[in-house]
Symmetry: C2
Subunit: 251 residues, 2 copies
């Protein structure tokens, strides 16, 4: 009997942004791996299913558990907030599958995309991503900081709109200041910066600041925040952050 | 009476990936602006609603029409495939709103995020976006080609995974070859490249090639294709394109 493993993106964290495909994958699964709070918040009652709870930092262990369950012939969903393929659980699961010599067929593996944090942030801010953009995680747990700096420099020099994931944690407090310094070498201090905490959750907070003021502790940037740095054409109109699609449209 | 304007992302083009929030926005709208085919494909019967069809290149005219409708007190959805905020209709609408001196309040404007093309492509390819990535459109209709080249060079030098939108059209046939040349200056010819046409539609085609062979006309890259270029750590395992999350995990 061949098992099935779904990699499911829950979206930002409310049921209105959970796709039917993601809901169906969860309903189809006898077992779920992920954060119980997030799963119940978006998918409702899942009490008939076995939930393997996750703690932060357990990604590889949980991925291995899910792969075990699927190899044993069961159907299991590994759930991530946002999109499973963007800094989510798709990476650890495919790494485990590779290490185990997965044959590409059994267990079946299907990724169900979801609305990622950068899209939720953008939707709440206005239209900041309407030109070429990049996503950069400031977490140096798995990526050397020198590599992250190299990416920040490339993004700043290339005039990309930049969405920063994991911008600050209790342990990682100076990385965002360093990112700010790098972007200030290429963009004016007046460049709009959008700061979105807990998008589409009850604690949601949306702020538009500027690059010069991004080091203000009062902005409350933390690990639940996505920071969107505008490009040199981004402007603010009535509380919305707008990046013109065309370069002729600078306001 | 104050109108309402929704900017709705339909996702890739099947109902399974349309969020409930997007479906609700469409149902709440007496008028719709967009491509009739896409709307009916994902939202089902919308025959009670006035549909203002769009043709390619009419984005600003359609945006202006939608803003007119909302200022007249009606509720209207402007729909885009993928995510409205990523190379979608959010840009033209916010540009028109800015030009009209919109007060930020009336009409109300709400963006409903959707699954974007890069996420659909990634989900079908494996987990190519698990490290920092960027999105670059190769269309030079609104962006000078020199600016696009600058972005390609920055993305290649910064070792970003790169999702290329609008990689080729009948008129724009050499831009992808130029992108390939730029990336080859920084990455080996064996770098995996994912090519996804018509994700989640009946015509869907998923191919994994490599950077050296990206100029092969048989790959069929066109305007309905998203091209995902791996970073220097991306590998292929059993037909899946995998970018390790951690730099220690190079296979």
């Amino acid at each position: 009997m061949s098992g099935k493993l779904y990699l499911v993106g829950l979206g930002p964290g409310d049921a209105a942004h959970l796709t039917p495909a993601a809901a169906a994958a969860i309903a189809d699964s006898g077992q779920l791996v992920g954060y119980r709070f997030y799963i119940e918040q978006v998918a409702g009652d899942v009490s008939d299913q076995v939930i393997h709870a996750m703690e932060l930092g357990q990604e590889l262990e949980r991925a291995a558990l899910a792969v075990d369950i699927a190899y044993a012939g069961h159907t299991v969903s590994v759930v991530s907030s946002g999109d499973a393929g963007i800094y989510g659980m798709a990476g650890p699961v495919f790494r485990v599958l590779t290490d185990r010599g997965w044959d590409g067929i059994a267990p079946a593996v299907e990724t169900v995309p979801g609305v990622s944090a950068l899209q939720s942030a953008a939707a709440l801010l206005g239209s900041p991503l309407m030109q070429d953009f990049c996503a950069i995680s400031l977490s140096d747990l798995l990526t050397p900081w020198e590599q992250i700096v190299r990416r920040l420099q490339a993004a700043a020099a290339g005039d990309f709109v930049a969405a920063l994931y994991n911008p600050r944690s209790r342990r990682r407090i100076r990385h965002l200041d360093e990112a700010r310094r790098i972007f200030l070498e290429h963009r004016p201090a007046s460049t709009p910066v959008g700061i979105v905490r807990h998008a589409y959750r009850p604690e949601q907070a949306v702020t538009i600041a500027d690059l010069g003021g991004l080091d203000d502790p009062a902005l409350g940037v933390d690990m639940f925040t996505t920071v969107v740095i505008g490009n040199t054409n981004t402007y603010v109109h009535q509380g919305r952050m707008v990046t013109p699609r065309g370069y002729e449209a600078k306001q």
